[in-house]
Amino acid sequence: MADKITLRLVTPSRLLLDEEVDEVTAPGALGEFGVLPHHISFLTQLEPGEMSYKQGAGRSHLAIGGGYAEVLDDVMTILADAAEYADEIDVERARRARERAEKKLDELSREDKEFLAVEAALRRALVRLQVASREARM
């Protein structure tokens, strides 16, 4: 297994993925990063965003809701707060969440305690919509 990475993706409610893949991209705290085989040991925080991995000729896209990623000896472990494949996303629900959050943001000022929470909700909804629009899984 010289040129593969084992990708393990777990969320609090399930083990989503435990497979050999060729390449992973994920939204790190300091920007998006890619992981190829023989990557240096690495630990980072993840932002809500889009991650994808390449397996053979296909590429799969997922929406993740923040978490942590660890790379150690060609094993990449992603601990995500939430993760969904592109075709699992409930587009209607995400759209409603976006509208709700946008409306709320108009009412709130930047100093409000809620502001950050609502902004995060908006970001999650946007990520879901963006990933869902790719649809192409495999």
Partner: protein
């Protein structure tokens, strides 16, 4: 000997009870399956989280973050997870007994504050006039991320404000439907796992800085720990209830067969008596 009618009535009432315990057993079995699934599915996440922490903690000193620093445990908090409802065998009693043992096991001048989850625990300590700093009850299903978040926030706040030098959690670990073990775990300070680093620690790249990483990761670990305990407790409760209701159903069947025997005997005796009377009357009329 009891009259026929009285015995029949008792059999009827026991049959009713048996129907109830049987239904409760069925419900508990269904809930247990779901709770067990949830507990099993959550396990990989919790395990990976712990692995991540022990990888990390072999590289950082306890001074790196306040949540890692152990203090002298003069005053600690104990979170006790009990059920809202009874009729589940010794489940609640076992947990409460373990809790009392923990409190008694500490030196008298040391203080232990209780954070109670579940109506059974709340009632028990209220009856004994033991104060609790926080109570959660009538929450329906206890295995929610929301409750885990609330408890984690509380535990961390009390630890950081020096109100507690450590926070423990006492819950029932689910082994099987027949066996649930009261388990005590330390939530904060977050244990630095294995202090000795086996072999050469691998070179790690951190992003963002290690301090930032720790201050987001450590509260998360506390929360995950609590959530796992809640899931285990929920599975244990349903398992205990299922077992208790199963043996109640068996007992009811046993009593019923005993009473049926008694009833038949009484009926037989009545028939014999009547026959004797008829025969002796006929004899007398001759």
């Amino acid at each position: 000997m009891a009259t026929l009618k009285a015995i029949r009535k008792r059999i009827g009432s026991i049959r009713n009870t048996q129907q109830i315990t049987k239904a409760m057993k069925m419900v508990a079995a269904a809930k247990l399956r779901r709770a067990q699934d949830a507990a099993l599915r959550a396990r990989p996440y919790a395990e990976k989280m712990t692995a991540l922490l022990s990888n990390l903690s072999s590289r950082v000193s306890p001074e790196a973050h306040p949540l890692l620093a152990a203090r002298e445990e003069k005053r600690v908090d104990l979170v006790i997870l009990t059920a809202d409802r009874g009729l589940c065998g010794g489940y609640n009693a076992n947990i409460i007994r373990a809790g009392e043992k923990f409190v008694r096991g500490r030196a008298p001048e040391k203080e232990t504050n209780l954070i109670l989850v579940g109506r059974k625990g709340v009632d028990y300590f209220r009856r004994r006039k033991i104060e609790a700093v926080e109570r959660y009850q009538q929450i329906g299903s206890i295995a929610t991320e929301q409750l885990a978040g609330e408890l984690a926030e509380k535990a961390i706040a009390r630890f950081l404000s020096q109100e507690a030098a450590a926070v423990y959690i006492l819950y029932s670990r689910f082994r099987s439907a027949l066996s649930q073990v009261p388990t005590l775990e330390k939530l904060v300070p977050v244990a630095g796992a294995a202090e000795e680093s086996e072999g050469q620690p691998t070179e790690y790249l951190f992003e963002p800085g290690i301090e930032q990483l720790l201050s987001s990761l450590l509260p998360k670990i506390v929360e995950v720990g609590i959530f796992r305990a809640l899931l285990e407790a929920a599975a244990s409760e349903h398992g205990a209830r299922m077992t208790a209701m199963d043996s109640a159903t068996t007992n009811a069947a046993e009593i019923m067969s005993h009473l049926t025997l008694q009833m038949n005997r009484a009926r037989q005796a009545a028939i014999t008596k009547e026959l004797l009377e008829v025969v002796s009357t006929a004899e007398a009329l001759k």
